[in-house]
Subunit: 398 residues, 2 copies
């Protein structure tokens, strides 16, 4: 019998708390686990021994947590180096923590990996497990990541409404969506299309750099055809193979501890693109919205599939830790469409740590400005059922 | 027996289509109404005789329309003058249109009013009825406006998620919300507060101008106390009694046909406020989102109360038009909390046309940076049940 700790790291999602509750409810079933510590604010809290007692939570509280967006234990952007991980291990030793469950993206898998290796070398028996989480959907090995489906649902519902708004008051509309390197979430905008002429009419993701000339020519062509144009753009939209459009704009950019330029929480890219269209194409009505944090933390909006899978990933991390030394929980798709299903499995931490996945070529159209049917088939089951909408303006005239 | 026309004007909302369906289903019950024309793109479509046949729509289509955000018949920002209204009247004459249902805000009520007066002078028997609609909730006479509850629900859910996100990764968060002159929708952010230290911690609405010194002092005080601060700001936040902060910023601002500066669809105000805080308070992590069009047109998110009331307002416009010459549908509150209820009544077009309501003093706190309990009592029944959330980071440490 020993103690366990669970923490949540990186950017919040709409279902990272479902994974947390999965860990908590499964841990309660295993007598090997005595105390279950909740590490508040991820590794930053662990080294400060900021722990709460997760075995004391009522079932009612747990369900409320599972339905809440954002990280109920708080988060951190710290990227631990060897010295930092040594501190983590010292706290584990002091508190007899032998099970470490870390819910997060590839950086979190890497933290698990480093701490686990360190423990191994020191002869300290530790079971370190990573539970996948990211709205970016960019982890390797797994078919998809918990968090993506819920964020994708927000993006799809937003674009559905936004396209109807743009039909009512036609013009150009630009929506800037999260995604620094991977375009999966921006691609989810394509799920909003229910009719042939529905928007988004153009989608730009980081995997396909686009020059300003090409961008403006694309917009111009759609506008000339439909009299309006709805555009979904990744915050990480590239100007060329090296530089994002946002980086080209941002002087004295704030960089986080991972060396990344801040792309979310500013309307600069959206306003810049709107300005380019207004200046060069002489179109009058142009609006630009940046979805910002709403897309990752919006109360009351979850994908059912995403919730179920996120919770199961948490449960399985605990189950795997009873038999294996370390690993990351991953999913394999067993069927699509109405036969959608997944199998869960364990993969090595090294397979997930620090690496990222891009949107595969077969999901991006030849022109580099939209998604393919194969992408829709991939993403739709993760997002789940979407509202059906209607627009009457195109009906036969009387 | 004569024909009728219904149109939707101004900015779309999440339930303006419920009002449209209310008109359609009620019109079908009255043999006085032969054809029911849907005027596409409001007055702009009416003068071009762009009509569709609304009696041909199936019940299934009607329900889909009622659940869809934005204006299913399209909209227009045109503000008709006398010559324009003369054209409208000519089309009415030509098509034997004797019933005119116009769903919109105070400008739409005014259009109804002008066309109605013109018809009266010309001895043309016309029944002109206005159906209230606005996310701004700023119409006179009525207790509240269809459209506000649904937009308020979006804002509340967004702030709930955003506050949890800000707890997970603390810092300053600014959310810019629609509201050029009236602060009701920004005020709805206050509904997100479930715990004492929940955000939004500060709310700025157009009714209370705020200097930059006061704004920064408010933010500083909250940040020093909580280590974070979530701020809800109206796009029409005033610098003084005459000028908005957005107007102070925007050079060569686009103005719409009503002479208004464009405030939505740009991140400029949010980024400006973030820059002020960063520069003057030296706080590092500051994010700013502008909710933009998401708050008025988001698929799949409606307030149940709002939908029911919006539909009933549409029905009643038709019922009233069977007995009265003209008018606007209004609501009176008969009870609050669990006893929430309303009565509908007809009011004169002149009472609603061109006028706007501001947030009453008793709904604004003494400091001018937050809403009172009286406002919560007013707004909560309109928004309806909100998701319950949980955050664990403040639980007792172990």
């Amino acid at each position: 019998m020993a103690n366990a700790v669970v923490s949540q790291s990186g950017g919040p999602t709409g279902v990272i708390n479902a994974s947390l509750v999965g860990v908590i409810e499964e841990a309660a079933k295993h007598k090997e686990i005595d105390r279950l510590y909740g590490g508040v604010h991820a590794v930053a809290g662990i080294v400060k021994e900021h722990f709460i007692d997760l075995k004391k939570l009522s079932l009612e509280t747990l369900e409320k947590v599972a339905g809440s967006p954002s990280s109920a234990l708080g988060s951190s952007r710290d990227k631990p180096d060897a010295a930092y991980c040594e501190k983590i291990l010292n706290v584990f030793r002091k508190r007899d923590i032998r099970y470490f469950y870390y819910i997060g993206g590839n950086d979190s898998a890497n933290t698990c990996y480093i701490v686990n290796n360190m423990a191994e070398k020191a002869g300290y028996d530790l079971r370190a497990f990573h539970v996948p989480k990211t709205v970016d959907n960019d982890l390797l090995v797994t078919d998809h990541c918990p968090g993506f489906g819920t964020a994708g649902k927000f993006v799809a519902c937003a674009l559905m409404g936004d396209d109807l708004d743009n039909r009512a008051l036609p013009g150009i509309k630009i929506d800037v969506i999260m995604g620094r390197h991977a375009g999966f979430l921006t691609g989810a905008a394509a799920l909003a299309k229910q009719r042939d002429d529905d928007g988004p009419h153009l989608i730009y993701i980081p995997e396909r750099p686009v020059s300003m000339e090409k961008f403006l020519a694309d917009v111009d062509a759609v506008y000339k055809k439909l009299g309006r144009c709805v555009i979904a753009v990744s915050e990480g939209m590239m100007a060329d193979g090296h530089t994002t459009w946002a980086e080209k704009l941002v002087e004295n950019a704030e960089r986080d501890s991972h060396g990344n330029v801040q792309l979310s929480g500013t309307g600069a890219l959206a306003d810049f693109l709107a300005g380019q269209i207004k200046g060069k194409l002489k179109i009058k009505r142009i609006r630009a919205d940046t979805f910002g944090y709403l897309q990752r933390s919006f109360a009351g909006l979850q994908s059912e599939t995403d919730v179920v899978e996120a919770r199961q990933c948490g449960r399985l991390a605990v189950q795997y830790s009873m038999k294996e030394d370390n690993g990351s929980v991953a999913m394999k798709r067993t069927g699509n469409g109405v036969n959608y299903g997944i199998e869960y499995f364990r993969t090595d931490l090294a397979n997930v740590a620090e690496k990222t996945k891009s949107v595969p070529d077969e999901y991006i159209n030849a022109d580099g400005n939209g998604m393919t049917d194969a992408f829709i088939e991939y993403a739709l089951p993760l997002v789940g059922e979407l509202p059906a909408t209607e627009y009457l303006g195109g009906y036969p005239t009387l």
